[in-house]
């Protein structure tokens, strides 16, 4: 009992802070979602499920949901595949030297390069890519295209390209972190397993799919969930990069953008909270589903 008291003493403050600053806003968001609160006074009326009814009838909500679905499938897939590839190249693809696996030449340098986007603030990344995607010949990509005799492309103004352009930025920004994460995971795999596989004549590809990936599975799973949750975000990049904050024609809108517009643009805090509640359940459902679907027998080494 004394030991429990000791532990509880340490936990009390953080739990209290968590309850006040995380749990209670969530609970209040659920409450506000059932009201017509306008955000400028303490007065509000209870309106039942009106906000949710409005939400399900709103095209912008469904559009945001569709965009989240695309993000959810492509963004983690691209990021994890690239990160795995790079991590493998950096750590194990250089072949065996002196009994240990090494990365390709200059891997130390690449490690820094890959991680660099991670230390940039999202707003900086946004501004950076605004210049990269600029639709006239002053843009980084379009400038090159024009010099090669091509036509400038509306990366963010063409409704078929806009979402993909933003996904590319998200992947670019996230890959570095997962390279480091997977590298750490690979470093934890005992070297003798690689050595044994190598002696048995496994090539690089075989080594990756039959040895590295299965032993790295839990790390990949964690990464997948993180990225999935990130796919429910996207607010800052969409806000800075897209036209009309989520355009053209809603092609890049996400739930957080809709929440922001409704709360701070139209003073519909009740409706915005209803969107927030929807986002909460979507994220939760996604995390639970991913955990279930990707569950495998744990490999102990």
């Amino acid at each position: 009992m004394r030991r429990h008291g000791f532990v509880a003493g340490f936990l009390l403050l953080p739990v209290l802070l968590y309850a006040v600053f995380v749990i209670s806003p969530y609970v209040q968001a659920f409450q506000i979602a059932l009201t017509d609160w306008r955000g400028v006074s303490a007065g509000l009326d209870f309106v039942g499920l009106d906000n949710f009814q409005r939400m399900f009838g709103n095209e912008a909500f469904w559009q945001a949901l569709r965009n989240h679905l695309v993000l959810l499938v492509t963004m983690p897939l691209a990021t994890v595949s690239l990160a795995l590839l790079f991590a493998y190249l950096l750590n194990a693809a250089g072949g065996s030297r002196g009994g240990t696996m090494t990365g390709v030449k200059g891997s130390g340098f690449y490690r820094v390069v890959f991680f660099l986007p991670q230390v940039l603030a999202v707003a900086v990344v946004g501004v950076l890519f605004k210049a990269v995607y600029r639709p006239d010949s002053s843009g980084v990509i379009n400038g090159a295209l024009v010099r090669l005799g091509g036509e400038p492309v509306g990366w963010l103004t063409d409704q078929r390209l806009a979402l993909w352009s933003i996904i590319a930025v998200m992947v670019w920004q996230a890959v570095g972190f997962y390279v480091v994460l997977f590298s750490a995971g690979m470093a934890a795999i005992p070297k003798d397993i690689f050595e044994a596989a190598s002696l048995d004549g496994a090539g690089r590809a075989r080594m990756f799919f039959s040895v590295t990936l299965p032993l790295l599975w839990e790390t990949v799973q964690v990464g997948w969930i993180y990225l999935g949750i990130a796919a429910f975000d996207g607010f800052a990049l969409v806000n800075v990069l897209s036209m009309e904050q989520g355009g053209p024609d809603g092609a890049t809108t996400v739930l957080a953008t809709e929440i922001y517009k409704n709360a701070f643009g139209y003073s519909r805090f009740g409706y915005a909270s209803a969107l927030g509640v929807a986002l909460f359940f979507l994220t939760l459902t996604f995390a639970a589903l991913t955990m279930r679907v990707t569950r495998r027998e744990r490999i102990v080494y």
């Binding site: 303490a42 007065g43 995607y133 607010f235 036209m243 009309e244 701070f264 519909r268």
Partner: protein, 469 residues
């Protein structure tokens, strides 16, 4: 991953925390009565009943015009008149973020310059009874012209624009002229004249094309509303101001009316024939720089443009304003008609500690020193008539003044759904980009806008506004 989103959620959470919400959810709307400040006795020198010793808090949006004018002119005047009163000056770029929690908690400043990207939604403030009735101010004697009431010293439309639900609640302080801006020096050098008809506009487009200049561009990324304004004002030119009044009143078929369709079709065709799709992805600053580089001939904007671009403007560029060319030969308004509108909103908090002082502060802003000084300092004309004689004005303001003279009574009214129904206005911006880029037809534009307007009309949670003039 994104701190901004977290800020949003935290903002939501904290704002909620600031209220004892657990009680409020059931407490209902009339839970928190605001403090009411009693007025002092009125006199000829003090028509609004200001308590000389009471503290006054002023919140100024520190944007393009800065906040120095408030400190040096208006607060100085107040301090001079009431030396015992303490004045608290707050400059901010985030009016909403900073003031929203204070309105909830009941600790409100007295005067607020509600401008900028985070301006508070006036409609919901009125619904919660936060905005003071400005009638005493408008009825009080003017400081600029002592024999007149304040109301009678202002340009036409200024008083009408202060009305929300028929009661004056918000003072729009500056006057801006909105039409097409061009480089007068370039026109002189090329020997071009400003087009008066749509045919001349097209002909000039061909000439400009040969010279490698885009006839017309608006910023699609940030600021498609410049073009939405342009579409609406063009429609008013064809069909008269009734077109805009109908739109504001959410009248049936206001958007599907023929003048709107004609205006949208005409502009979409200009974009198709002489435009450059790159501008859909540029923001207003980037586009305005291109304009200054003579890559764009006409740019739709207001008379604040020159001030905004003062640092980048080369000597070869002289801003001048041109009315939108007449689209049909049977337009209801003549070619000279331009839009003259008011902006820079100020309001007095009804539940503040010193509403009388707030009204007096606004009266001082409308005094001779206050208004003329403001024009001198920020190069913006104010709504007070007849105070600018002998002032050094910029070429843009001079050009606008001339255009105003030419227009005479033929001014295009401002579209108020911009603040009344912000949701409709924002939707209009996305639809403008869509129709200008050719993703939707003008007919679809009209139908989509009408659908959205009808939805708002049927939505009982949004308070409705009407106007007759």
């Amino acid at each position: 991953m994104s701190p901004t989103r977290r800020d949003v959620l935290r903002g939501l959470g904290l704002a909620a925390l600031a209220t004892p919400l657990a009680a409020c959810v059931t407490a209902g709307r009339d839970a928190a009565p605001g403090p009411t400040a009693s007025a002092a006795a009125t006199s000829a020198n003090n028509p609004l009943g200001v308590d000389a010793a009471r503290r006054l808090e002023v919140v100024i949006f520190s944007g393009g015009n800065g906040d120095k004018y408030a400190v040096d002119l208006h607060e100085a005047a107040y301090r001079k008149a009431y030396p015992q009163a303490e004045i608290k000056h707050v400059a901010t770029q985030k009016v909403g973020t900073q003031l929203r929690p204070r309105f909830i908690a009941g600790d409100v400043p007295d005067v607020v310059n509600n401008s900028g990207p985070e301006a508070l939604d006036l409609q919901s403030l009125v619904q919660e009874g936060h905005l003071a009735d400005l009638t005493p101010l408008f009825e009080a004697p003017s400081l600029a012209f002592p024999d007149k009431k304040v109301k009678d010293t202002l340009v036409g439309g200024a008083y009408e624009n202060s009305l929300i639900d028929g009661v004056p609640r918000v003072l729009q302080y500056t006057v801006a002229h909105r039409a097409l801006w061009y480089n007068a020096k370039l026109f002189e050098a090329k020997g071009w004249s400003v087009p008066r008809t749509w045919a001349e506009f097209n002909a000039l487009g061909e000439e400009a094309k040969k010279a490698g200049i885009t006839l017309f561009a608006y910023p699609g990324q940030v600021g498609p509303f410049y073009q939405l304004w342009n579409l609406i004002y063009s429609a008013a030119k064809i069909g008269g101001n009734k077109v805009i009044i109908d739109i504001d009143n959410l009248a049936d078929g206001a958007w599907t009316a023929e003048p709107v369709r004609q205006a949208v079709a005409a502009w979409a065709q200009i974009q198709k024939d002489y435009g450059d799709k790159a501008y859909f992805g540029l923001d207003h600053t980037q586009t305005q720089v291109k304009h200054l580089q003579d890559k764009v001939l006409f740019y739709p904007c207001g008379s604040w443009l020159e001030n905004e671009m003062a640092k980048d403007r080369p000597d070869t560029f002289e801003y001048a304003i041109a009315p939108v060319p007449s689209i049909t030969s049977a337009d209801a308004l003549p070619y000279e008609a331009i839009m003259i509108g008011v902006s820079e909103a100020f309001f007095v908090a009804a539940k503040g500690k010193n509403p009388q002082g707030g009204l007096e502060y606004l009266r001082m802003m409308l005094s001779k020193e206050g208004a003329r000084g403001y024009t001198e300092m920020t190069k913006n004309l104010t709504i007070v008539n007849g105070l600018v004689d002998g002032l050094q004005l910029t070429s843009a303001v001079n050009s606008a003044a001339k255009a105003q003279e030419a227009a005479g009574k033929n001014t295009i009214t401002d579209a108020r759904f911009e603040t009344w129904y912000k949701e409709l206005f924002d939707y209009g911006q996305t639809q403008t980009n869509s129709v200008m880029a050719g993703r939707t037809t003008p007919d679809q534009f009209c139908a989509n806008m009408q659908k959205k307007a009808d939805e708002l009309k049927a939505d009982s949670s949004i308070a409705k506004q009407t106007r007759s003039v």
